[in-house]
């Protein structure tokens, strides 16, 4: 019965996703076209004349009506073809497949650090509410939210790559090539990326736990003689499960977006740096392809989050 309800939830969410994907791709397409700047000028390079610009626009279909351009791209995308880069001619799907795993690895590492550090901090703060530990966690949370993570990244490089060569200052190794070196190279970027997430998880978890621990039924549990540790772990945390999953899913989405700046600072060949370069150069096909993949990623993460929440708390169905 519960499984049927979850399946129904899954299909509902999937159906809701379809118009979101269409609207998002339309918005991205037309926003890119609205941006001033002519990609034909970039493509012409030094050999530039009005005639050459016209040739280039015709060669790449840029002189066709906008709706025709969108429809061609959308139809091809539905058939798995994200077209080719206007500047390099490279297949956009192949490009994304080569760089997205790098972004996911760094983001995943950062989220893991977020959970491993943020959750214990939040629990410690809630369990000792009002104490020096609680205040310390509060200060750390505020700093984590306020300090830009790219600045933290640069400090980490100065301290642990240049002063003490414990980690590389730049670069990335694929985990499929050498997992140990991949972890070493990704450590400083992941720490920088996780700073905001750690702060948020600690703060939100602390607030949720304190709220639950101050409810009447918890007072009843105390009165019945249950130990504070048992109350915290068996009852308190379980009731914050939905909150925690929701926060983490939001942090995952935001972490993937924040990799844009971190990839630039650490010279990591990821989705973010590919997106920046393509946007500056008006390489529409790459921008559209990457944004479509990011929209699908967010939808997938939200869907997963909803399913997990429904497993933890049947009331969510």
């Amino acid at each position: 019965m519960a499984a049927n309800k979850r399946l129904k939830l899954f299909w509902n969410r999937l159906l809701q996703a379809a118009p979101v994907i269409v609207l998002a791709s339309l918005a991205i397409f037309f926003l890119m076209k609205l941006l001033p700047g002519d990609v034909a000028i970039t493509l012409a390079g030094e050999d530039i004349s009005e005639e050459r610009l016209g040739e280039i626009r015709h060669m790449h279909g840029l002189d066709r009506p906008l709706l025709y351009q969108y429809a061609s791209w959308a139809w091809a995308a539905m058939n798995g073809d994200l077209s080719k880069s206007l500047l390099t001619g490279q297949d956009v799907g192949v490009l994304i497949a080569s760089v997205y795993p790098n972004t996911l690895f760094i983001a995943g590492y950062a989220v893991l650090l977020t959970i491993l550090i943020g959750v214990p901090l939040g629990i410690a703060a809630a369990a000792t509410a009002g104490s020096a530990i609680d205040r310390f966690v509060s200060v750390v949370s505020s700093a984590g939210v306020a300090v830009p993570n790219f600045w933290i990244g640069m400090l980490l490089v100065a301290a642990f790559a240049l002063e003490r060569p414990w980690f590389p200052a730049t670069g990335f190794v694929s985990p499929f090539t050498d997992i140990r070196m991949a972890i070493v190279c990704a450590t400083l970027p992941a720490i920088a990326l996780s700073s905001t997430g750690i702060a948020e998880v600690a703060r939100q978890l602390r607030t949720a736990l304190v709220e639950i621990l101050s409810t009447q039924y918890v007072r009843t549990l105390h009165a019945k003689g249950l130990s504070p540790q048992a109350i915290l772990w068996k009852h308190g945390l379980r009731n914050t499960g939905v909150t925690l999953i929701t926060i983490i899913s939001l942090i995952i989405n935001r972490t993937i977006a924040m990799t844009v700046v971190i990839e630039y600072v650490f010279a990591i060949p990821g989705l973010g740096s590919a997106l920046i370069n393509a946007t500056m150069a008006r390489d529409y096909n790459i921008v559209q392809g990457i944004m479509l993949v990011l929209v699908l990623t967010v939808i997938f993460i939200n869907l997963l989050s909803d399913i997990l929440c429904s497993m933890i708390d049947p009331r969510v169905n």
């Binding site: 390079g45 050999d47 001619g89």
Partner: protein, 523 residues
């Protein structure tokens, strides 16, 4: 002492055991020390370069960015080689070249050179390449060979180019991308483009390319220049941000960092583990002008704009020692450098005010300035606007990202009176002046014909192959351009390269097409 206390050396000679042990220890120390020094003297087989951009294409015909030049000098050799300092043409794959008359260029090729796929570089291969550069609709080099009417094979290793009118620039084009020879066999097999599968006659061949990350090369077998390249393997690591590139050099992840910013110059010079190579390039910060708009039509207004700028102060304030002030497009050392322009005063605010008053603007005037939106450009704009204000020229900069700003200033909209921009290097001044001043050029926003003296200089430089005569003719163009205010050169940017102190054999190239075959890294 007993007999076992001695070591028999043969022929009746012997030494005692203790001396033998001491001798062996000394020999061991000497050998190990020499092997350490030998290792220090030995070149590492890997050279790691910090490059600043992912290639747009490894096909010289398809590439549309000058940032690809670093990869072309690794993969391809060209017909003509350009001297590192003067950019005068030297033999390359063409061991000799001469104009037998003003419209006929004959080139004799080095014999026995093979492409990386084993096919021969002969006159037929050269003809194939040049016709492709000229005729392929996707080629970005068509205008370089626009005047080449015919390419003929006169013998196995001799090629004749017939021009429809005199154009000595053709030789210099053949020293750049247009002279890079690509294997015709590879082109045919790849369907006409080798964006990702380059095959040339250069010192290295491509092993792998991970977009946005790195390109790995290995030495070409049978390279036509003996004993080269000195580094058997080369890795170009792409680090777009110059600060990140500098950090990679500091931490030893790369051996060379190309195109560093002037902000890193003080840090480079303080670091004892690094060597700095810094000097003028052909990258010139300047103003493009739209001479068809309002007050800009008056040469006195344009001249006043130039005289209002204290270029020394501008460079000091905005470039931290990474540029030199200039009123021309070529630095000292280049064959087209004009000493007279540097001797004439370039900053005279009083004269600027007088010219404005003569032109009918005694109280100054307001102009529409355009520029780019990056932080360094904005800093330059602030300094320049301050200088203009001092002579009564008012206005503000309307900024945009590069592609958008160029499109608006030069495209259909023709927005703005001046655009603060930069001119990347052109090996021949005639190419640069044609690009900026020719009436039909895209970069002449107002489509205004240059003054007679400039037009005459450009035409005369086309009609002679004599280098001194060309220099004199092009000097007329440079002087007329300043006097008439056709554009306003401001500063020549330095090409700043950081090297690990273990790197040897590298020489900077004025055009930025650095060569790495003589470079080695000691272990």
């Amino acid at each position: 002492m007993s007999s076992k206390d001695f070591v028999d050396l043969g022929s009746g000679q012997r030494i005692n055991r203790r001396d033998a042990i001491r001798l062996m220890a000394a020999a061991g120390i000497t050998l190990s020390a020499s092997s350490v020094f030998a290792q220090q003297g030995q070149a590492s087989s890997m050279l790691r370069i910090g490059a600043y951009a992912n290639p747009t294409s490894l096909d010289p015909a398809a590439s549309n960015s000058s940032s690809d030049n670093v990869y072309f000098s690794i993969l391809y050799d060209s017909l003509v080689s350009l001297d590192e300092e003067s950019l005068l043409p030297q033999p390359g794959l063409a061991k000799s070249f001469r104009f037998v008359d003003p419209t006929t260029l004959v080139m004799n090729l080095v014999e026995g050179v093979k492409f990386q796929d084993g096919t021969s570089l002969d006159a037929e291969a050269v003809k194939f390449n040049l016709e492709r550069y000229r005729d392929d609709p996707a080629s970005s080099r068509r205008s370089d060979l626009a005047r080449v009417k015919a390419v003929d094979v006169t013998s196995e290793y001799e090629v004749k180019l017939t021009l429809d009118e005199p154009d000595p620039s053709v030789v210099l084009f053949l020293g750049g991308r247009t002279g890079c020879m690509v294997s015709p066999k590879a082109l045919k097999e790849a369907g006409g483009r080798v964006d990702r599968t380059p095959v040339g006659v250069g010192p290295w061949k491509l092993v792998s390319w991970a977009d946005g990350d790195r390109l790995i090369f290995e030495a070409s077998t049978g390279y036509w220049q003996a004993d080269l390249p000195r580094s058997k393997n080369l890795e170009a690591i792409i680090i777009a941000d110059s600060s990140a590139r500098f950090r990679a050099l500091q931490s030893g992840q790369i051996d060379m960092a190309l195109q560093l910013s002037s902000r890193q110059l003080p840090l480079l010079e303080k670091n004892p583990e690094l060597v700095t190579l810094s000097g003028p390039s052909l990258f010139v910060y300047h103003f493009y002008m739209n001479n068809s708009r309002g007050a800009m039509k008056d040469p006195r207004v344009r001249r006043a704009l130039s005289l209002a700028i204290d270029r020394d102060a501008f460079v000091r304030a905005t470039m931290q020692g990474g540029a030199e002030p200039t009123t021309q497009y070529y630095p000292k050392g280049h064959w087209a450098y004009v000493p007279a322009l540097d001797e004439a005063p370039s900053y005279d605010p009083q004269k600027a005010k007088e010219l404005l008053a003569e032109a009918g603007y005694p109280d100054g005037l307001e102009l529409d300035f355009r520029g780019y939106s990056d932080q360094e450009s904005v800093q330059r704009q602030e300094v320049l606007m301050n200088l203009f204000n001092q002579v009564g020229i008012r206005g503000k900069f309307t900024n945009a990202p590069l592609a958008e700003a160029i499109s608006k200033f030069f495209g259909e909209e023709k927005a703005g009176d001046l655009l603060l921009s930069a001119l990347p290097g052109q090996p021949d001044p005639l190419m640069a002046y044609t690009m900026i001043y020719d009436e039909a050029s895209f970069y002449n926003a107002g489509r205004v014909a240059p003054p007679a003296a400039a037009a005459k200089g450009m035409q005369e430089s086309r009609l002679t192959q004599n280098q001194d005569e060309r220099a004199a003719a092009l000097a007329q163009v440079a002087v007329a351009a300043i006097e008439d205010g056709l554009s306003i050169p401001l500063a020549i940017r330095f090409d700043i390269i950081g090297l690990s102190k273990n790197v040897s054999g590298f020489e900077r190239h004025l055009l930025g097409t650095h060569r790495f075959q003589d470079v080695a890294v000691s272990a």
